[in-house]
């Protein structure tokens, strides 16, 4: 039972991270209609920049994540301007190839600056909590709490604020939205920036638990794609449900079956969903 509770919290913490990363990706898909294969690279870059501010410059943890998130917002906007905007009328294969190019660039950049070795990020948050006999590290509690707060803020932003509502409008109908004066170009920039920002928050939160490396985004990339396909491409509730479901499935199989199976769960889910119901759980999302 203690092990189960321990793993439950581990799963929830991982789920929070997956959610934050997946929501950005699904937003980008909803607005730009492209799967951003460079998303994992943005996550990786976010982790390294947080590391840079925290360890090298000695900025406090939360502030370091905040600064890194803002920087990555700019990187996301730049990515939209320089890569995806010029390709907006090209066949869909071209976006994906360009995104791969961008991904390689970010990875090589991180490797050039910080080296290929794994790095460990120390967190000022230490200690733990005793819940029903299980020792839960404070870092994981912080992840869960922050993820919930950020998700709530995001929900408020998209549903209530004027800029967030433009995102939803573009998702629903691009032409209709442009007719009432919403600029698709501005919204695209905002969305990609936002997705990079969310990925950075996720990366900054999980970095003290995992190690940092230039290729850390690769595994996450595929998992996040599995999540948004499970939830339905472009669907926000789908990304949240999918994120927690996959994270729990992963930690539980890794604990009770074997770690190799835990790693493969994402792909088993992906194959199963695409074979049985390719539109995902929350179908409404994006009509093609």
């Amino acid at each position: 039972m203690t092990l189960f509770i321990q793993q439950l919290f581990n799963g929830l913490a991982l789920g929070g991270v997956y959610c934050l990363a997946a929501i950005g990706l699904t937003l980008v898909f909803g607005v730009l209609r492209i799967p951003n294969l460079a998303h994992g690279a943005l996550y990786m870059l976010g982790a390294y920049i947080t590391y840079f501010f925290l360890t090298t410059l000695g900025v406090p943890y939360i502030a370091a994540i905040g600064i890194a998130a803002l920087l990555l917002f700019v990187v996301g906007v730049g990515l939209e301007r320089l890569v995806f905007h010029p390709l907006r009328n090209s066949p869909h294969t071209h976006h994906m190839i360009a995104a791969v190019g961008a991904m390689f660039f970010f990875q090589a950049l991180a490797q050039a600056i910080w080296g290929a070795d794994f790095r460990r990020m120390k967190t000022p948050i230490t200690g733990g909590l005793d819940i029903l006999g299980a020792e839960i590290s404070a870092q994981r509690i912080v992840i869960i709490v922050t993820a919930v707060i950020v998700l709530a803020l995001l929900a408020w932003f998209i549903k209530r604020s004027i800029h967030g509502q433009t995102i939803e409008a573009i998702e629903q109908d691009r032409i209709g939205a442009s007719l009432v004066g919403i600029s698709p170009s501005m919204v695209s920039m905002l969305t990609l920036g936002l997705s990079a920002l969310l990925a950075t928050v996720a990366a900054g939160l999980v970095a003290p638990i995992n190690l940092l490396s230039p290729t850390m985004g690769d595994a996450l990339n595929l998992k996040v794609f599995a999540i948004i396909i499970l939830g339905g491409l472009g669907s926000l509730p789908g990304a949240i449900v999918g994120g927690f479901a996959l994270a729990l499935a992963e930690t539980m199989t890794a604990t009770y079956i074997s770690s190799a199976v835990g790693e493969a769960v994402a792909f088993i889910v992906l194959v199963a969903v695409l074979a049985i119901k390719p539109t995902g759980l929350f179908t409404k999302a994006v009509q093609r």
């Binding site: 898909f29 492209i34 799967p35 320089l82 890569v83 010029p86 390709l87 090209s90 066949p91 869909h92 294969t93 071209h94 994906m96 190839i97 360009a98 791969v100 190019g101 961008a102 991904m103 390689f104 660039f105 970010f106 990875q107 090589a108 950049l109 490797q111 050039a112 290929a116 690769d218 595929l222 794609f225 599995a226 396909i229 491409l233 190799a260 790693e263 493969a264 792909f267 992906l270 194959v271 695409l274 074979a275 390719p278 093609r288």
Partner: protein
């Protein structure tokens, strides 16, 4: 005779002859020969990608995985099971075909983005199996001493030149197959699917079946390339199946030109050369190459061969139009001297003036 007048065919021949003559230049330098041979192995896999991406318009990101299956099939069968190269090679190619066909059954239920993501997952699963299944694939220690092909006492394949010509021969067959597909009704069917799947469906093309065939064919080419790669290099590690391989192939085809016959070969050779140039900073080469990929997609999505083809088409059209204008001039010399010359005239302008003269 007709073939000699076709610049496309001539160009392909020129590239092929140039590469075929490479041993004459690099005969003494084993390293250079090996780089070119490995480049040709990759080119074979890229021809597979060309069928599914270039002709059919579906981005498959599993090509590196199929390459890995071919490589590991040959590698493991010739070392751990002591098979001869040829039997191992044929078994792994057939194995890749079967795996490719089975993957296609599920993968082709999806399309566009879903297809790309799904094939990326297939590629990653293959990589995961190869890099983790220690008992069979030796995981990270890789496979050493892959056998050379048996020459039946006639050819000694341990010499780099013999190996070069073996790969070269297979490559030629692949190029011919690509050419044949492109010319045949199968090729036109695939191109129709690339243009519009709904349209193809409406005019009675068996979309699902054709895509299935294209995907299986691309897997087979990947397997062939991988199998040859294993014997050329002699050592294989999980890298041979990694997703990076797929992206490398993608870059090769992009530089050369998607959906063309000579493109994959030319692209593979040029990019292999670039990789060698940047070899000292192996890990950082993508700082330069990444933006190049992006720039290529934005500014030159059709690749080198695509642009040459466009140039040839435009020249042919201009010639035809010039011919059309000359003949009415000869029959009815009403002296329209104001007609612009061929150089300054735009194509649409040419169309209207020749109609006026009639």
């Amino acid at each position: 005779m007709n073939a000699l007048k076709n610049p496309r065919l001539l160009g392909t021949f020129a590239v092929v002859v140039l590469i075929g003559a490479a041993p004459a230049v690099f005969a003494g330098e084993n390293y250079a020969m090996r780089v070119i041979t490995v480049g040709m192995c990759a080119a074979i896999a890229v021809y597979g990608l060309n069928i599914i991406l270039g002709f059919t318009g579906q981005l498959s990101l599993a090509q590196g995985g199929f390459f890995g299956i071919g490589a590991y099939g040959v590698g493991l069968l010739t070392t751990d099971y002591d098979w001869s190269f040829w039997s191992a090679f044929f078994v792994s190619v057939i194995g890749t075909a079967v795996i490719g066909y089975l993957c296609g059954l599920i993968a082709l239920r999806t399309k566009d983005e879903y297809f790309a993501i799904f094939t990326m997952a297939i590629g990653f699963i293959i990589f995961l199996v190869i890099s983790r299944w220690e008992a069979v694939t030796h995981a990270h220690s890789g496979v050493n001493n892959v056998k050379f092909p048996e020459g039946a006492g006639i050819v000694d394949f341990s010499s780099p030149i013999a190996m070069f010509y073996l790969v070269f021969l297979v490559l030629l067959i692949c190029i011919y197959i690509t050419h044949a597909i492109r010319r045949s009704s199968v090729g036109r069917t695939l191109l129709t699917i690339r243009t519009s799947e709904d349209l193809a469906d409406a005019i009675g093309v068996r979309v699902g079946f054709s895509k299935q065939l294209a995907f299986a064919a691309s897997a087979v080419f990947g397997g062939i390339g991988g199998g040859l790669y294993a014997t050329v290099v002699g050592f294989i590690g999980p890298d041979a199946a990694s997703i990076d391989k797929t992206f490398e192939f993608l870059m090769f085809i992009l530089v050369g030109g998607m959906g063309t016959v000579a493109g994959p070969l030319l692209g593979s050779m040029i990019v292999t050369f670039l990789f060698e140039l940047f070899q000292d900073f192996q890990a950082y080469r993508f700082i330069v190459l990444g933006p190049i990929i992006v720039a290529l997609v934005i500014f030159a999505p059709r690749g080198i061969i695509g642009y040459l083809g466009e140039f040839i088409d435009r020249r042919n059209r201009r010639r035809r139009l010039a011919g059309m204008r000359r003949s009415p001039k000869e029959t009815g010399p009403d002296g329209r001297s104001a007609a612009p010359t061929a150089e300054t005239m735009t194509e649409s302008g040419a169309g209207t003036t020749s109609e006026e003269t009639k």
